[in-house]
C-alpha cells in the first residue's frame, strides 16, 4: 500500500529559492525515514503533505487524498510532531493533549481518555498532571509525540524526533517510534539528518538533497552493500594492510585507519585473526556509521562512472 506518492513535485519560494525540485517518490506503508542535511527540503515536504504550503507544480497524494484541495481530510488522518518547541509552559501535559484531541474532533470525554492513554504509551504516568514548563527535554519530546497520536491518525509525520536528546533518550525515542510502527500498526514518516538512526528503525529510506530525490528504497537493500569496518592499530598499520590484502580483502587506507568492506559475518573473524597473528595492539574495530554524506558521495561517484 502506498501512503505518500508525489509526481514531479516542485516548490519555489518567493525569493527564487527552490526547496523541492522535480521530486517524484512512492512511499510504502511502514516506518519510513526521510533523510537529508539541514535545508535539504524535508520540512517543506512535510508542510506540503499537511496542506500548509501549496506546491508550485507537480502532484501529491497522502493516503490517497490530495492535500492541496482536501487538506482538512488529510489532516484528520495525519499526526504531526514539529521539530521546534511547541508546548505551552503553564499547562499540564494531560490538559494540553486533551485540548488538542478536541481540536482534532474527538468528543470531550473521549479526548480526555485518549490523552491519558497515549501519554501512558509514550511513558508519562503521574508526571502528566504536572506543568510542562518543569519537564526535561526528553519528557517534552514525549508530549509532542503524544499530541500527534491522540486522535489516532493513520500516518505520523515526525520532524527530527530525537532533537536535543542524550544518547539514552535517543534510544528510548527510537524504540518508541519502532513500537508505534510495528505494534500500534501506524505508518510513520521520520525526518532526520542522521542516517544511523533511520537505519535502526526504518523499513524504507528516502534520501533528499538540495530538494531533489537522491535515493529511495528498502534499508536492507541500500546498506548491506555499503557496510564498512574501520580497523585501527596503534602500530604496524602497513603490515596489517599487507596481510589483509594477502587474504583477498579489498583494504583501503584512510589516514591511520584501514577500511574493509564487510563481505559476510566472517570478515570480523578474519580481521581479528590477522591482528592476533601479527600480535598488533588493536585500537579499534567497529562498523562505520553511515552518514547522509556517504550516501551522497556514492551518488556522485556512480554518476561520474
Amino acid at each position: 500500500m502506498t501512503i505518500i506518492s508525489t509526481h514531479a513535485l516542485t516548490k519555489t519560494y518567493g525569493g527564487g529559492v527552490t526547496a523541492l525540485s522535480d521530486f517524484t517518490v512512492e512511499v510504502p506503508a511502514g516506518i519510513v525515514g526521510l533523510v537529508g542535511a539541514n535545508g535539504a527540503g524535508k520540512s517543506t515536504f512535510i508542510k506540503i503533505l499537511l496542506g500548509l504550503l501549496a506546491p508550485t507544480s507537480g502532484r501529491v497524494r497522502v493516503l490517497g487524498l490530495d492535500p492541496t484541495t482536501d487538506a482538512p481530510a488529510v489532516r484528520a488522518r495525519v499526526g504531526y510532531m514539529p521539530e521546534h518547541d511547541c508546548l505551552p509552559a503553564d499547562l499540564t501535559a494531560a490538559e494540553f493533549v486533551t485540548h488538542l484531541g478536541r481540536v482534532s474532533g474527538l468528543p470531550r470525554s473521549v479526548a480526555r481518555e485518549r490523552a491519558s492513554e497515549v501519554l501512558r504509551h509514550v511513558g508519562l504516568y503521574e508526571e502528566r498532571y504536572r506543568q510542562i514548563g518543569g519537564y526535561s527535554t526528553g519528557m517534552k519530546q514525549r508530549v509532542k509525540l503524544a499530541q500527534a497520536l491522540v486522535h489516532d491518525p493513520d500516518l505520523l509525520l515526525l520532524d527530527e524526533p530525537t532533537n536535543g536528546l542524550d544518547p539514552a533518550g535517543r534510544d528510548a525515542m527510537l524504540a518508541l517510534i519502532h513500537r508505534i510502527g510495528t505494534e500500534f500498526g501506524l505508518s510513520v514518516l521520520v525526518c532526520s539528518h542522521l542516517l544511523g538512526e533511520i537505519e535502526r528503525i526504518c523499513d524504507t529510506v528516502v534520501a533528499i538533497d538540495g530538494g531533489r530525490l537522491l535515493r529511495a528504497g528498502r534499508v536492507d537493500a541500500m546498506t548491506s552493500a555499503t557496510d564498512v569496518l574501520t580497523v585501527e592499530v596503534s602500530e604496524g598499520t602497513e603490515e596489517l594492510a599487507a596481510r589483509l590484502a594477502a587474504l583477498r580483502l579489498p583494504v583501503t587506507r584512510e589516514g591511520r585507519q584501514l577500511l574493509v568492506p564487510v563481505a559476510d559475518e566472517s570478515t570480523y573473524d578474519v580481521i581479528l585473526r590477522a591482528v592476533a597473528d601479527l600480535d598488533l595492539p588493536l585500537h579499534r574495530l567497529d562498523q562505520r556509521r553511515h552518514r547522509v554524506v556517504e550516501l551522497f558521495a556514492q551518488k556522485e561517484t556512480s554518476r561520474a562512472s
Partner: protein, 301 residues
Amino acid sequence: MRADERAPAPTGVIHDIGYQRYTGPRLGRRSVFAALYVHGLRTAFGLGRTAKAKIFPWMIVAIVGGAAIGSSMVHGLIGEPLFTYAGFADVMSWLVFFFVAAVAPELVSRDLRAGVLPLYFSRPLPHTDYVLAKLAALATAVWLLLGAPQLFMFAVAVFTTDLAPRVVKEEVTDLLPGLAYAGVWAVLFATVGLLVASLTGRRAFAAGGIVAVFLMTTPIVGVLSVMPSSTVNELAGLAAPLTLVQGVGVWLWRDALVRGPEAATSVEIGQFGPVYGLVALVVIVACLGLLLARYRKVAAR
C-alpha cells in the same frame, strides 16, 4: 506498567490491552470551533489556569461588580441609580482597556510565543476558525464584563420595586440599549486588541501596545475638538476607539445614553452619526481582515 493494570481480571488472566485504535465518532467543524471558543472564554477569566492567571481578570470583575452593587444601592436609597445601563460602559471604559490589554495577549500572544500554532494548523482546523473563535471568545468576555453587571442592576431594580408592569417595561427599554451598546464595545475593542496582540509573542509588549492604541489616541481627539471649526469638532471623535464607540452609541441610542450628568462627557457628533457608524464598521472589518491575513501567513510558516 501501573499497579492497577497489573491487578488480575476476574478470570485471573493479566491483560495488557496495548494500543487501541479509535473507531468512534469524529466531530465536525462546528464542534471544534465550539471547543476552541469555550477554551478561549475560560482562558479569558483564567479558568483552568494557574492562580496567577486568575488575579487580574477577577480583580477587574470585582471592581466592575462593586460598581454595579454601589449603583444599585444608591438606586435603592435615592431612587435614581449612579449610572444608567448604557452609561455603565462609558464609566468603566478604562477597566475595559486594561481587561482587553490583559486578556488578548493571553489568548493569542501565548500561542505565538510557545510555538503552539503548528499543532493547531496541522489539524483539521482552518486558520480562519482559529481567529474567529479567539475573537468571539474575547468579545464575549468583554460583553459579559459590561453586560453581567447591567443584568444584576436590572434584577435589583426590578425585584426591589413592586414588580409593577410599568416599572419593568421602563427598565427593559433602558436595559436593551445598554446591552446592545456593550456589544458594540465588545466587538470593536476585541477586534482591535486581538490584532495588536497577534503581532507579537511577548505578552508585555502586546499589553503595552493595546493600552497605547486605546489611550494615546485620545489626546488627538482632545486637540481636534477644540479646533475653531464645528465640523472638525464633531468628527474629532473618529480619531480614537473610545470616542468612536461613544459616537456610535450617541447616534443609535441617544435617549438612553445622553441623560443626566453623563451628558457632558459624551462626544458631540452633530449630524455625523452615520459617519461614526460607518467608520466603526470599517475599523472592525479592516482589523478582522488584517488578522486573517496575519494568520494565513503564520499558518504557512
